[in-house]
């Protein structure tokens, strides 16, 4: 008998994701802000018509969350910080201000604590460091309780178990053992341990021996992974260090379209979604659209020079 690889094509991965999200629409995204976001998987699930999602992430997100809101796929956002860092997220902001989505007021410890509880297999994670912020009055992930050891009032972050998690990493073997080569890995490993269904896009596939020769480089063992998809530049326009840097120009141009839409002119944004999300037949078509080899070489060059 032969072992079954977990390496699948994007269509197979999306069939898994869409089915699971129909069951419970809680989707979690890996990376942080502009690094290692699973954007190709996000575009694919939008192209597949995802709707009504509850979005989770490591505590900071921007472009991809905004894009999903622009594509009208989101009901609620459970992410503490949503920003492009150098500017606000236009569609996030517009959708909250017009009450088309609910953006919960949360903090990092509640989200991370909830994922820790889920990964640890316990009903909650105690938190002792939340005090005095108005965020505590609205936060749906926590409740107060009395510490059984000290008698102090603590917060319990109830287990957060995403139905589906999308991650992006640099490498995997065919069995689904994932290798982040970046310095920062954020909450990707925690999310993989905390989630029901985990789909990972990787820039490249490596031979089995690459994994076995350096097991400590495996950031997420295959056990936690349901499907791996080989998508070169799958994090674009966010970065996948050390392979390529973030495409700030692309994100800024997108944000300009979003701001125009927020002020009433949605044509550019609609066209952007058609050209980049629903239009491209595959990742290569998308890469041609965003500037092709020339643009990608620039981003690789920036990453190589760091």
């Amino acid at each position: 008998m032969q072992r079954d690889p977990k390496l699948v094509d994007l269509d197979e991965a999306m069939a898994l994701a869409v089915g699971a999200l129909r069951d419970r629409p809680d989707l979690c995204l890996g990376g942080l802000f502009k690094q290692s976001r699973p954007v190709a998987l996000v575009r694919a699930v939008l192209a597949a018509g995802a709707k009504g999602l509850n979005l989770y992430s490591s505590p900071g997100a921007g472009y991809d969350v905004d894009l999903m809101i622009a594509a009208d796929a989101v009901d609620a956002v459970f992410i503490p910080g949503v920003t492009l860092e150098n500017r606000l997220c236009p569609n996030f902001r517009a959708a909250v201000e017009s009450q088309r989505i609910t953006a919960h007021a949360l903090d990092a410890l509640s989200v991370v604590g909830g994922l820790m509880a889920s990964a640890n297999g316990v009903p909650f994670q105690p938190i002792a460091a939340l005090k005095a912020s108005d965020v505590l009055k609205h936060n749906p992930l926590i409740s107060e309780f009395e510490c059984p050891i000290t008698g102090d009032t603590l917060h319990a972050a109830r287990a957060v178990r995403p139905r589906v998690t999308f991650l992006h990493a640099q490498e995997a073997d065919r069995w689904g053992n994932i290798r982040h080569l970046s310095t920062m890995v954020y909450a990707d490993q925690l999310m993989a341990r905390a989630s029901d269904l985990v789909i990972v896009s990787v820039d490249r596939i490596v031979e089995d021996d690459v994994v076995l020769d350096d097991p400590r480089r495996v950031t997420i063992p295959s056990h936690y992974v349901d499907a791996v998809v080989h998508i070169p530049y799958g994090a674009h326009p966010t970065a996948s260090f050390p392979l390529y840097s973030m495409d700030e120009e692309h994100i800024d141009a997108y944000a300009d379209l979003g701001d125009a839409a927020r002020k009433g002119d949605g044509a550019g944004l609609t066209d952007y979604l058609a050209q980049h999300v629903t239009g491209p037949a595959d990742q290569q078509a998308y890469l041609d659209k965003i500037g092709g080899t020339k643009r990608l070489q620039d981003l690789e060059q920036e990453a190589a020079e760091l």
């Binding site: 900071g60 910080g81 410890l109 991370v112 820790m116 460091a129 005090k131």
Partner: protein, 254 residues
């Protein structure tokens, strides 16, 4: 002294207040704070550690607007994850930095919304990830890169980051045991807090600004103690290190 930018002035003010052997982190809007920490390490605090936000002691070749990804952090003395950040958030740091959409008289910070309510806001801001360092850390600095009557207000619409709340009593009642915000450092001036009332007051004014300029650009009646002077400008040494070693691409001058 040569010309210097408001952000360079902010950087040296912060750097001078950081001590050797402290542990601190820069927060999300990290350009100026990270420059300040790097400068302090060069000048008088070689044992100051940067940590608590999933990396230790980075050696970036230049500054970046965001200092939370591999552009700035790829070369460092160790990386962690959000699990370890959870621990640091409880154990606390010596110092941290914050800024927001609104800052009020007591140093409370709002990053969530202006006008309306949380779920029916007039203007929705980004929110914030890290709330706990503001009180688990020994102290923090408020350092917005703009200073006007819309981001300095009498009372924030929403307390994202608690500062001194409504003064000593409310702070005690809420269990905020540490110093909280020590200085407010903006492109115009440095403010501190009256030790008795914990109300913000002017401390010094940066070169090129008058006391009246600062008052005109502050949305509440800022206390001005006797003898408020000019902020000591960057020294040759400070500016040389900043421009040659820490910020060779001039991010603080753009």
């Amino acid at each position: 002294m040569s010309d210097f930018s408001p952000l360079e002035q902010m950087t040296v003010v912060m750097a001078r207040d950081l001590k050797d052997r402290e542990l601190g982190a820069a927060g999300a809007a990290a350009l100026v704070p990270m420059a300040a920490i790097a400068l302090a390490r060069e000048l008088h605090a070689p044992n100051l550690s940067i940590g608590g936000e999933m990396f230790f002691n980075p050696y970036p070749r230049r500054l970046y607007p965001s200092m939370l990804d591999d552009r700035a952090l790829g070369r460092c003395e160790g990386s962690e994850t959000f699990i370890e950040l959870f621990g640091h958030s409880h154990h606390g740091l010596d110092f941290f930095f914050h800024s927001g959409l609104q800052h009020d008289r007591f140093g409370n910070i709002n990053l969530h919304f202006v006008g309306g309510t949380l779920h029916e806001p007039k203007m929705r801001g980004p929110g914030a990830a890290n709330l706990s360092y503001c009180h688990t850390s020994t102290r923090f600095y408020i350092c917005p890169t703009v200073h006007n009557d819309r981001n300095f207000v009498e009372k924030v619409d929403f307390v994202t980051i608690p500062g001194h709340l409504e003064g000593p009593e409310s702070k005690r009642a809420a269990g905020l045991m540490n110093e909280g915000p020590r200085f407010v450092i903006t492109p115009r001036a440095v403010m501190d807090f009256d030790p008795d009332t914990l109300e913000m007051r002017l401390k010094s004014v940066h070169s090129g600004n008058s006391v009246q300029d600062v008052l005109d650009h502050t949305g509440f009646a800022l206390n001005v103690p006797e003898g408020v002077g000019q902020t000591p400008p960057p020294s040759e040494d400070e500016l040389g290190l900043l421009r040659n070693k820490i910020d060779p691409t001039g991010e603080l001058r753009h």
